[in-house]
């Protein structure tokens, strides 16, 4: 039973990783940019929520309404004023610029809030649970996070396939020049992708902060998990990213069940095994835009 429990808990954890990963995947697909500050931007959203609660009070759940639009606007500006320049600077430049951004965010947070762990207190929801079977309980918050993760991925997929803006994103991902020739504004499309990426990673950051504690340096760990989810699932596919997140979550909780100190390591080893034996990812895809 403990193994069933570990798998179920891992599945729920994996939803959170999928939320973190889908923005990374989208930005890479649309502009071949790997944002090394992705995790830190999610953690930044969590700190923003802490400030809001400190000044305005209430249950942190309401801060989603404030953090998501601010994150999206920040993403738009970030793309326009920084990342677009980095993309013009050659192959290495985006890696170096976003890594610099990551260092800045982590250390500004450390300077402002200290290195201590923080968390968002959402009251009873954080410990209420449903009983599935003897010794198998699922936290209500974790189930909510999982459901929202699936909704985010499905929503993003629908947006990409059904809307005009989504088609522009897919067209840009497939062929940037051809998309521009057919009247798609590449600058706006890239900024839209980054806005969506930051909005989703802010959701991830807030959920992470509600689920466990976090610190200024948590962003690096989140980036690594998001990246592992993307690679395990396979580039080019949001469903793959969801599956990758779930596989990573299960690997980590089952690993922790074997040895409490081993969770992250087992997750890493699953990632390396996929890299070695199935580098195209578990769900290889050729026909979706987030390639």
């Amino acid at each position: 039973m403990i193994w069933t429990n570990a798998v179920i808990q891992g599945l729920l954890l994996g939803g959170l990783y999928a939320i973190f990963a889908c923005g990374l995947s989208l930005m890479f697909g649309v502009m071949r940019l790997v944002n090394l500050a992705h995790g830190d931007l999610g953690v930044l959203g969590a700190y923003f929520s802490i400030i809001l609660i400190e000044h305005l009070g209430g249950n942190p759940l309401w801060t989603f309404a404030a953090v998501i639009p601010v994150a999206a606007i920040l993403g738009y500006l970030l793309q326009r004023f920084l990342l677009d320049h980095a993309l013009n600077g050659g192959e290495l430049s985006p890696i170096l610029v976003t890594f610099g951004l990551s260092i800045i965010i982590e250390n500004l947070l450390q300077q402002t809030f200290g290195a201590n762990d923080q968390s968002l207190d959402i009251g009873a929801l954080s410990y209420q649970s449903w009983k599935l079977a003897t010794n198998v309980y699922v936290g209500r918050l974790n189930v909510i996070i999982f459901v929202i993760a699936v909704m985010v991925i499905v929503g993003l997929q629908l947006f990409l396939s059904k809307t005009r803006a989504g088609r522009a994103l897919r067209a840009t991902a497939d062929n940037r020049r051809a998309a521009a020739l057919s009247g798609i504004d590449p600058k706006r499309t890239r900024a839209l992708a980054t806005a969506i990426a930051l909005a989703t990673v802010a959701v991830g950051g807030l959920f992470l902060a509600m689920r466990t504690s976090f610190a200024p340096t948590s962003g690096s760990a989140d980036l690594l998990f998001a990246f592992e989810a993307v690679i395990i699932g396979g580039l080019g596919n949001l469903w793959g990213t969801l599956v990758g997140g779930l596989v990573l979550g299960i690997a980590q909780t089952v690993g922790s069940q074997i040895n409490p100190a081993d969770g992250i390591l087992i997750g890493d080893l699953v990632f390396l095994a996929v890299l070695a034996f199935r580098p195209q990812g578990l769900i290889a895809s050729r026909n979706v835009a987030v390639r």
Partner: protein, 336 residues
């Protein structure tokens, strides 16, 4: 219309220049002076110089992979930490720590071979994060080895019975020797056939492959050398700090430092890491009391330089590659 014909006899190809000969002379004089520095400098200045050389070695190693191989790694702390622990482990098994240093460098080079097979499946930004994950795996695995002190780390007791001044001086000479060695290896590699292949691969991988360069093998060679050089820095960290701790030995901050030094000095140039290490060391000494702020400044510099001074300070001094201190390039002269 007259067509100028060029006979082979009219062309001479040179590599060195008067500048490069002077630079080599000055370089040798500086190294000779540095060999005798501990006699004049006193213990704390000697230790500072050791720390500077460790940073410089890291910068040389990282620049080799990123600047010449086009492989931006955020995981080279894997090799730094691995070599630190290799020295510790060898010392525990009775190898004198001084002998353990060169062995650790070789081991760091060897472990980077399997690493390269995994990491090379990824490209660009994903390669960068992939190496970071691999460094995390190194850290997690080593933190579980109880004979190496587990998560708390362990001390290198081997050298404790030495007179501290002597020990510091020997460490210093090791650091100086490894710095000169790293510079020499880099210079000779770049002058060789491999060096030309490498520049071709960095500039256009497909064209390089089309002209018969074995791209994967060339990149792997550079990756391994770069790992071994960073391993040298890690081995020195172990014998100069006399203790190793997994969180600091595998800290991603080393990557931030290496990136900063190489970017500021000039990525992909021989001189860049030297300039970058001097600037970084000065910054570190003067800003260390500001805590996290100095890292904020570091990150901001990395962005500004990448965007507006992509070839760093050396690139600004030598925009047309004319003044290279080291004769790496071929020059063609047409005799009238």
């Amino acid at each position: 219309m007259t067509v100028a014909t060029l006979e082979l006899d009219d062309v001479t190809v040179t590599r060195g220049s008067r500048g490069s000969k002077i630079a080599l002379g000055v370089g040798i004089a500086v190294v000779v002076a540095l060999i005798f520095a501990p006699a004049v400098a006193g213990d704390s200045a000697t230790n500072n110089l050791t720390q500077f050389f460790i940073l410089l070695i890291m910068a040389i190693g990282w620049n080799l992979a990123a600047g010449y191989g086009g492989m931006v790694s955020i995981g080279h702390q894997a090799f730094i930490g691995f070599a630190s622990y290799a020295v510790l482990d060898l010392a525990i098994h009775g190898v004198l720590a001084w002998y353990a240093v060169p062995m650790a460098i070789v081991l760091a080079g060897l472990i980077s071979i399997p690493v390269s097979y995994l990491a090379f499946r990824l490209r660009g930004g994903y390669f960068a994060i992939g190496t970071w994950v691999i460094a995390q795996v190194f850290q997690l695995v080593i933190a579980q080895q109880s004979n190496l002190g587990g998560g708390a780390g362990a001390s290198l007791n081997d050298l404790n019975n030495l007179n501290p001044i002597n020990r510091d001086n020997i460490t210093y000479w090791f650091a100086l020797g490894l710095t000169v060695g790293a510079l020499a290896v880099t210079g000779l590699l770049l002058r060789s056939r491999v060096g030309m292949a490498l520049v071709a691969v960095r500039d256009e991988e497909h064209s390089a492959a089309a002209t018969g360069v074995n791209v994967a093998r060339t990149k792997r060679l550079v990756f391994v050398l770069s790992a071994a050089i960073c391993g040298g820095a890690g081995a020195l960290l172990c014998i100069s700090n006399l203790e190793v701790q997994p969180n600091s030995a595998f800290s991603v901050q080393y990557s931030a430092f290496m990136i900063f030094m190489v970017l500021v000095g000039g990525i992909g140039s021989f001189e860049g890491p030297i300039i970058g290490a001097i600037i970084f060391f000065a910054l570190q000494q003067s800003l260390a009391s500001y805590g996290a702020w100095y890292l904020v400044v570091l990150g901001a510099f990395a962005i500004v330089i990448t965007l507006w001074l992509p070839r760093g300070i050396w690139g600004a001094i030598d925009p047309r590659h004319r003044r290279s201190l080291v004769p790496l390039r071929h020059r063609v002269h047409y005799d009238e």
